[in-house]
Every structure is written in C-alpha cells, then in structure tokens.
C-alpha cells in the first residue's frame, strides 16, 4: 500500500469518533498517527 493509504484510514477512523465505538485496531491506528506527529528532543530544540 502507498503512504497515502494510512492517512485515508486515519480519516475514516476520525469520522467514526462520536458516532460509534472504536475497535482496538482503530485505536492502534490513532496511536500510530499521534506518534507520527511527534518530534524528538533534539528536533524540538532545533525547531525552537
């Protein structure tokens, strides 16, 4: 699968929020998405 598929999946999970219970697999995808948005200590220092 191409990279864009991950974000497509995340969007689908986000659409479910507030409407239905999320499965463990969906929670895992959200967790992965949150991790993908983080920075390391060194990267943060360079950004600041």
């Amino acid at each position: 699968m191409e990279k864009k598929d991950l974000f497509k999946l995340i969007e689908e999970v986000k659409k479910k929020i507030g409407k239905e219970l999320l499965s463990d697999e969906e929670l895992l995808l959200l967790t992965a998405f949150e991790i993908s948005r983080t920075y390391t200590y060194e990267e943060k220092k360079n950004l600041l």
Partner: protein, 482 residues
Amino acid sequence: MTLPVLEALKKKNKDHQISFFVEDGFEGGLVNYKFCDDIIRFKRKEIRDKIRSDSWENGIGLLKELVQKLKDENFEQIINLSQIGYISHFVSLLNGKKIIGQNFLSQGNHCIRDSWSAYLYAIPFGRYYNSLHVTDIYKRIANVSNVPSSDTGITIEDKEKEQIRKYIESKRKNDDSSIAIFHPGAAYDSKRWPVEHFISLGRRIIEDGYTIFVTGDIAERNLAERLKHELGENCVVASGELTFRESIVLIDFSEFCVTSDTAIMHAAASLSKKVFALFGPTNPVETGPYYSGNLIFSGRCNKRPCFCTDCKSKLCMKSISPQTVYSYIKETPDSNPSCDIYQTTFQNGVYELLTINENGDPYYSRTGAMITRKSLEADTSVDTLSEEYRELYENSVFFIRSVMKMKEHLYSYIAGNSSTEIQQFESVKKSLQASGGINEFWNAILNIRLNSVPLLNPLNAIRESIIACDSTIAQIETALSK
C-alpha cells in the same frame, strides 16, 4: 522526577513488580534503580520514522508487537504520569485492569477520572493557586503520598564509576582539583543562562582550583567549546562525548553542579550533589530539584513563570548574575543579590521553597494554593482570617452557584428535551471562562471532568455531565469547609 514515586510504590507494595515505560535514551536515571523491576524502552523515533515512511505498515507492525507484549504482562495498574498526547492513546491499548491518569476512550475522547490527575492538568490554567511540586502530585496520583522518600535516588555501579574515573583522569590537567559541573544547554533558548555568565562564573571557579566539566548533548557542544575557548585547559568539554547515563556518573564525582531547569539538574539533585539551579521562564515550585538543600536562583521578570520558548529579551535569565551565584557557591552570600533565591526543603514530606531573598512577584498565593490543595486533602490547614481568603472564598462560592445553574439546565433538558437548556448550560459555562482568579483553576477542573465524559450516548453524556458538576461542587465545598 519520578524516582521518588517508584520508591514509594515499591515500599508500599513490596511484592509488586514495577515496570517503567520510557522513551529509549531517557532511561539514564532508572538504570540499576532498586525500586524499578523492569525498564520498557520505547523506540519512538524508530517507530515514528517507519510510520512516516512508505512502509508505514512495518511501523504499525512494530507498535502492535509492543502493545501485544505489554498486554501479555496483564498489568494490574497502569499509572500514566506523562502529559504527552500519544501516551494517552497508548495506555488505552494495554488492557490494564485499572488505568490512572489520562487515557483515550473507545468512545473517541481523552479521559481523566482521578482527581489528582485532573489537578495536575489544571495547573497551567491556574499556576498561581498551586504550591505542589509535580513529584508530590505524581505521588498523590499514585496514592503513595504518605510514603517518605529517601535522600538519594539514582544507583551507580562500581564498573560505571571506574569507566568515568578513567575518563576524568584522561581529561583533567590538575589531578588534585575538585570537579564542578556546568550544564549550559536546555530544552529551549529562553531557559538557558547566557554563556557569558557561565564564562564569568567559570573564571572564578577555576581560580579557586576547580576543573569544570561541561556536560550536554552533541547539539550543545558548541556552547561547551566556547566555554573551553574562554576558560582554558581547566575546562573540559564532555558535551557529546558522554551519554546521559555517563554524564550522571560524572556528576557523582563532582562537588556541585550549575545548571538551568534540566534533566541534569534533577539527576544531580538525586545524587545529593549541591545544585545551583538557574530558573527563568519555568517554575521552581513545580519542577525545582526535588531534594533538600539545593539553591534556586530565580530571574526577576514580572511575567515569570511565562513558559515562553522564544523570549526576545530573556530578562529573567540575564538578571541572575554570576557574582550572586558565585557568592552562594563560596557560602558568602551576596548582600544585594541580583535575583530571587530559594532553598529547597521539605515540610511534612512535601517539597517547599524556603525564601532566602525575594523581591519579585511570588510564584503562588499561599492562601489560594492551600485552598486548592484542601479541595483534595481535607486536613490541609488554611488561614481563613485574611482578606485574601475572604475574596477567594466569595469567588469560589460564585463558582459553585454557577455550576449548580449548569446542573439545573441539564436536569431540565432531561425532563423536557429542549435544546434551549443545553444552550443555557453552554452560556453559563462560557461565562465561567471569563471569571478570573482562583476560578480559573476551578474552571479547569470542571472542564477536565466534562471533557472526560464519553459522548456516544447523548442521554448518558448528560447524566455523566451532571455527575462531573456534582464532583466539582463537592471538591470546592471541601476546599471551603471549616
């Protein structure tokens, strides 16, 4: 800052196994620590980079593998002390029998159920009304606040000492000299003491016969090299040469450490080294060195603690003069210090700052902080006779009445199903946002509870919101009780 929590947990529950989840590379203080049975090193960067790449499925596979491994541990209790967003998601995946701290619900929202975690998250909205160090709050979250901590934390093995002894021997020109640690780096620029100040202090320290080892990571090596250039052969650049753990071992050989608000500061304090901690935009009340007898030099700026990461003036850090710091290192205190000075101490097992010199604005309202603490520890003593107390009391009573109105609107909605009631609920809620002073703290507590309500079933959400209002009212009533 979590070592005293692990110690207290282990002392309270001797048979329990304690595992500590930490990002790979940040476990330095925990290695060989007798109160931690297992360190789970999380390779966040590796997993993150894979998730970001075209082979993102491999990243998710690694994450899934780790989650399964931790699920298999069948943790009785998971205590999330981290305030980082992804950890909230992560802990929810582990099927712990009990989760304390922030977690992410399958209904799709973050949730904080325990009162001390809510208190922790409320602090940024009402810092002036908190006097507790985060470690003391962590201990309360973990329900071990009544277990005293010992004087030292970090454990160092002989072979580690031997390795660093050899390193020192290879670097130090004067074998008889005592070692001082300078740590000029920090997570962001506003927290750093000007390098010129380090140089000025360094000259005096070297004249007194010390060798200065400058610690830091590779990115901070340029700062260390500048110090070395100015201070000469009795200044050693250790930045980028030693790991965090090795730097901790090096500190164990030193007499004292000069640093701003950094992990090295906490490590040095934990080794019972004398720490001269330089605070500017951050708050020594919340994150000072959590051991007795350390000195905090606090810059004077009327915006402190601003937590600003890109301050242009850096007035606070500049205002801490090398002369003042030096005078305290020499134990001949400056009679006219350039900054505020506090000593770390403990009163009834709780970290406190003893004021040595204070001309700037205090970090917190003593009366206000005692009120918010009493809201969760009913036996907290509060001075109820002051004018300030009366004002805080009246504001809090106003807050309670407003939350009662919010509750009435929710009950009316249940009875009549009119959306106007929800609009009125929101209107009162919004008006509370404009209510300043101690109500900023209460409002944060209320909103943390309301935001923790699962929203999937609207009627249940309304009922749980009523419970959130009730819990907040009860908490404030405890705070105001005689």
